[in-house]
Amino acid sequence: MRLRISNRRLARSMGGDLSIFIFLGLGALYMALPMIYAVSQAFKPLNELFIFPPQFLPRHPTLNNFSELFILMAQSWVPITRYLFNSLFIVIAGTAGNVLFGSLCAYALAKHDFPGKGLINTLVLFSLMFAGSVLVIPRYLIMSYFKWINTYSALVIPAWAATLGVFLMRNFIDHMVHDSLLEAARIDGASEFYCYWRIVMPIVKPAWLTLIILSFQQLWGDQGTLFLYSEELKPLPYALSQIMGGGVGRAGVAAAVSVILMVVPITVFVWNQSQIVQTMGTSGITGE
């Protein structure tokens, strides 16, 4: 489908295409070089991390850093699999609620008209601009009122109230779902919930797939040290960053850790994007 479009767009000059190519190429270099360097560091033996002049790529690539990391992980007081489970639970539960509650609210904001809608829109917009770290203390008090300190809830449930999702979903529902489609469904007797679940959500699949990634990124990066103090509840990035803080002797292991911390979100992202591409390929339905 895409091909047909790029063929049709004839109004493209050679010079324009060339400068775009150069611009994209420079951008890609700027993005990729530090990432490649980060990966290359992880495959260098410890003595190559501290040589002059420093080398961009390892001369004698080794997996030692990774095997050392696995030994360290195996010695962990709390089994490393427990940290992994904690991370998975927090990320999946948090993201699921964020997408569900956010999109329900966004559907009503985009396609319904009701008293108070303007106020909600304004609140959602403004709340995005209030410094999050000042809210930690009031939040802490609220959590202790609910007795959620040191439970998964302290990380999962506030994620359901993340405003970014509502804002994003509202824009996409507004743009991609035609009013006439919903009208027709309503005339056929579809309930509002049916409209939301069977018509709106499939059409805006790219939007909630994008939201999944954003939510994942948010929750995966949260080491949870503010609300969790039991070691066995803490997430994997926390455990790995503890290993990283081991000084010069652990420099190689630290590089391996940062590669692992990188690979997980990137894998999720690749899966996610393949889903989006698939949706785009199959659904010409957005325009009825």
Binding site: R8, P34, F52, I120, V134, P138, I142, L164, E192, P265
Partner: protein
């Protein structure tokens, strides 16, 4: 393409402003829309508890002295006056924040859009690879720490190593300790990881535009890609553009974490000290929540002001 407004609803709303029984009409109007409240309800309850109440609490705290041990003590505007009259470091932080935001805000915003727009024209496979490449720095948690290795102050730092090896410098440069270099380096790193939320949203938004829309545009006399961008793409992307602008504003005005990780907890001459770092310093290190909240309120008002200005600019598009 705004919400469905049936004629009955319009009448009801119009009359709500004229008739004396306003509250009653409003109540009826709300009852007629109770399904909508079921949809927004779950989120709004969570939102109220975890966002609105905490914001209200910290606005209240900004007028108190609160050290988190004793109960808050009312001090009126004193926190705000202290900020501007006595806190020299705050004024440096304001200057740095404005400078930092003025550069990273617009540039990151433009980069997000331009890259998304250019990538969107490519074939699916290349598009996916480039999207991954551009988004990777932002998604991979603390990958940006590699920059501290590259700009390390000793000869093992990659940049110093290369410069020394080529004989461009004769002693290593203290990149992250020398105020001349600190701010530029921080900006380079923050821009490097700035293709995040907005970038992905723009890509998804561009993908969501119906292809037949462009075909119609060609028939209507769109000549080249610039016209197509200005008259077709940008107007369709308006909501997303506003969304991206808000993300750029919050990221650039509230930057702290990456700056602190790069140049340390007490940067030389406060050269990379931002308002957000000052807030965290007073909130978590000195336990003066009232004072920290006052700064948060000011930062919030600044962002709202900038957001209004940007909104006005964006209205002119297309």
């Amino acid at each position: 393409m705004s919400a469905v407004v049936t004629p009955e609803k319009q009448v009801a709303e119009g009359s709500a402003q004229i008739r004396p029984g306003r509250l009653k009409t409003l109540w009826q109007n709300m009852k007629a829309n109770k399904i909508s409240y079921l949809f927004v309800g779950p989120f709004m309850v969570l939102f109220a508890i975890f966002v609105v109440v905490p914001i209200a609490v910290s606005v209240g705290l900004s007028f108190t002295y609160f050290n988190m041990i004793e109960p808050p003590r009312w001090v009126g505007w004193s926190n705000y006056l202290t900020l501007f009259l006595e806190d020299d470091v705050f004024l440096i932080a304001v200057k740095n924040t404005l400078f930092f935001a003025a550069i990273t805000g617009p540039i990151s915003y433009l980069l997000c859009f331009v890259f998304a727009w250019l990538i969107n024209e490519l074939k699916p496979k290349i598009r996916t690879i480039l999207t991954l490449l551009f988004y990777a720095p932002s998604i991979s948690a603390n990958a940006f720490m590699i920059w501290t290795v590259m700009f390390s102050g000793d000869a093992y730092g990659y940049i110093n190593g290369v410069l020394l090896y080529w004989g461009i410098v004769d002693k290593p440069i203290q990149w992250l300790l020398d105020p001349t270099w600190m701010m530029p380096i921080v900006i380079v790193v923050v821009l490097w990881m700035s293709l995040g939320v907005s970038f992905l949203t723009f890509i998804a938004g561009l993908q969501g535009i119906d292809p037949s829309f462009y075909e119609a545009g060609v028939i209507d006399g769109i000549r080249n890609r610039w016209q197509e961008l200005w008259y077709l793409t940008l107007p369709m992307m308006k909501n997303h553009m506003m969304f991206g602008a808000i993300i750029s504003i919050t990221n650039s005005f509230a930057a702290a974490e990456q700056l602190q990780a790069l140049t340390g907890n007490t940067p030389t001459d406060w050269a990379t000290w931002t308002v957000m770092q000052h807030i965290n310093d007073y909130g978590y290190v000195r336990y003066e929540m009232g004072y920290a909240s006052a700064m948060a309120v000011l930062l919030f008002l600044t962002m709202v002001l900038v957001q209004r200005l940007v909104q006005r600019l964006l209205r002119k598009i297309g």
